[in-house]
């Protein structure tokens, strides 16, 4: 904006304020003018602990009430989509780790699925099962991060320590599998980089059999907690129709009553033969989304248990050419990431580098509905709402 425009805007604002102060003074001549200014603009973030990264919101507030919330992102924009174009297909996988950095495995998975679809490669059964196990472990760890941090945001500090205790174990499993804890890079086009280490399945299965009791612990701290309910019930209500309209996916749409899960709707890998429930709730508020996520964690444990029992020795990599040169076509592949529908739109021009690789990030699209959810709520509810959308700014900005 040019200087003239700024000064003009300042003048307008000053005139506006003076006008309002005058009317307020006329209405209540006794009152203190300082507190009579009804609306004000408030910067929320980018450096604010509850924004889970670098999200800036420009709020228009009337006292504590939010009249308007305008998200402003891009602080973490690293041009990932541009980078994909300049590197070969396998070199793109590590970049995906850095998008949703609390759920790297699902990002790897979606990227690989897109390229595999383009190539028409089939994945060996063992690799499919291990991918599903990794995905679900990742979903657990992502939901645990969400549970812990959104609890802290609302003043419930205790669940954080429990949630991160379990997450630590999951990260240990990842470390044992691929050497990394966060930026996993744990899948390859056509399969997996490594087979499981000895004893890994036993340790995971032990952890999984403990998990339901631990989820009970979290629920004991929150589900019937009066303060938790006061902060979440009826906050950010959205109907299933509106969810579709806004493109909201994942636990948000399921919390509003639509049992739509890509693992069930358009199964990839071996999800169609697995027995699990898609949990839903009816009210579509923050509390229901919390319940849905907790139920999803129980379902993930169930899925992992089934996959572990189905594991048999076999190949972990499909027949993929050494140099990956897909046909000059385009493809869209998506999976159910912990946050919602994560899709990759891949355009090939027949060379060994993607001509265009676009990411459809669930966090970015879900964040779009935040102004709609926040309108009319209090500033302190905004913290609950950012938590309930479960955004990761690495994925929003890419």
């Amino acid at each position: 904006m040019s200087d003239e425009k700024i000064s003009q805007a300042e003048k307008d604002e000053a005139a506006d304020l003076a006008e309002r102060a005058k009317t307020a003074a006329a209405a209540a001549p006794e009152a203190h003018t300082l507190f009579d200014v009804q609306e004000m603009e408030l910067n929320f973030g980018p450096q604010h602990p509850s924004t889970h990264g670098v999200l800036r919101l420009v709020l228009k507030v009337d006292g504590e009430k939010i009249l308007e919330a305008k998200p402003d992102m891009g602080y973490l924009h690293r041009g990932t989509e541009k980078l994909f174009e300049t590197e070969t297909y396998p070199m793109g996988i590590p970049h995906t780790d850095r998008m949703d950095y609390v759920a790297a495995a699902t990002n790897n998975h979606a990227f690989c699925l897109a390229v595999e679809k383009l190539l028409g490669v089939e994945i060996p059964r063992r690799a499919q099962l291990i991918r599903v196990i990794l995905d679900e472990l990742q979903r657990l760890s992502s939901h645990l991060v969400w549970l812990g941090t959104s609890g802290i945001d609302l003043g419930a500090v205790t669940p954080f320590w429990y949630a991160f205790r379990e997450r630590e174990q999951i990260l240990d499993f990842f470390e044992e599998y691929c050497g990394a804890r966060l930026t996993l890079n744990c899948m390859r086009i056509g399969g997996l980089p490594f087979d499981l280490t000895a004893g890994w399945t036993e340790r995971v299965s032990e952890f999984i059999s403990d998990l339901p009791a631990r989820i009970d612990d979290y629920e004991q701290l929150l589900t019937d907690n009066r303060i938790w309910k006061k902060r979440t019930v009826g906050v950010g209500v959205i109907s299933a129709e509106e969810c579709v309209e806004w493109g909201l996916t994942g636990p948000i749409i399921r919390g509003s009553g639509l049992a739509w899960d890509l693992r069930r709707a358009q199964p990839y890998e071996c999800y169609e033969e697995l027995d699990f429930v898609v949990p839903t709730r009816e009210n579509g508020d923050t509390y229901d989304r919390y319940i849905v996520r907790v139920q999803e964690m129980r379902q993930s444990a169930k899925i992992i248990r089934q996959c572990l029992s189905k594991l048999e020795p076999g190949d972990i990599r499909g027949k993929v050419p050494r140099v990956i040169k897909p046909p000059a076509e385009e493809v869209y592949a998506s999976i159910e990431s912990p946050k919602g529908e994560l899709g990759f739109y891949c355009v090939s021009n027949g060379t060994n580098k993607p001509y265009r690789m676009h990411v459809r990030p669930p966090s970015f699209i879900n964040l779009q509905a935040l102004p709609r959810l926040a309108k009319g709520h209090l500033v302190s509810d905004l913290v609950a709402l950012i938590g309930t959308i479960d955004i990761v700014l690495g994925e929003v900005d890419r």
Partner: protein, 197 residues
């Protein structure tokens, strides 16, 4: 290793190929409702792609939403084809819950041309179109709030265009618009920058 990998690859079923999809029921329904809209249609890996006239895109989106039950706009993005005319392709993905299927709609746009916005049809397309404007410089006419979204207002250049240098441009762009011209890419006097193709 290479031989062992190559041998079964040759035996394997041929790679998937694109087929003409003009006989597909969705395409036919669209053609019946909006004649002279569809340019071409193809199917690859079970995914239907319909290319429509640029000016008809909002009507096509409305048709898909109201008459064919594609109620969820998954994504809007673009591809810069650089050497083709028209240069860009705007790509839309829609999903239908009742059909449990996706459709891809595309339209070709020349540099500087405007595309009718579908933000009034699908709320979720709002930010996607903003991102496409920000990254490619494709304007959407009728968009309620077409501002940059990932970069900042005043940034000169459109990062996902193929002629935008990978190492970025001097962000003095916002301060010296006369030196960093509108439309992106390296400035005229700059010979030290690689152009990614």
């Amino acid at each position: 290793m290479t031989d062992a990998e190559k041998a079964p690859a040759e035996e394997k079923k041929p790679r998937p190929e694109a087929t003409d999809a003009s006989g597909h029921p969705w395409v036919q329904a669209m053609r019946a409702s909006l004649p002279d809209t569809i340019v071409s249609a193809k199917e690859f890996a079970g995914q239907v792609t319909v290319v429509v006239q640029k000016d008809q895109i909002a009507r096509a989106a409305r048709h898909l939403k109201d008459e064919q039950d594609f109620k969820y706009c998954v994504d809007v993005t673009a591809v810069d084809w650089k050497t083709r005319t028209p240069r860009f392709e705007v790509v839309y993905h829609f999903y239908s819950f009742s059909k449990n299927a996706r459709i891809r709609v595309k339209c070709a746009v020349a540099d500087g041309e405007e595309v009718p916005s579908i933000a009034a049809v699908f709320l979720s397309a709002n930010w996607c179109e903003r991102e496409t404007w920000d990254m490619f410089g494709i304007k959407f006419s009728g968009h309620p709030d077409l501002r940059r979204i990932l970069t900042w207002e005043g940034f000169n250049g459109f990062p996902l265009r193929k002629d935008f240098p990978l190492e970025g441009i001097d962000t003095g762009a916002a301060v010296y618009p006369e030196e960093w011209p509108e439309g992106g890419g390296p400035s005229k006097g700059d010979t030290n920058r690689k152009v990614v193709s």
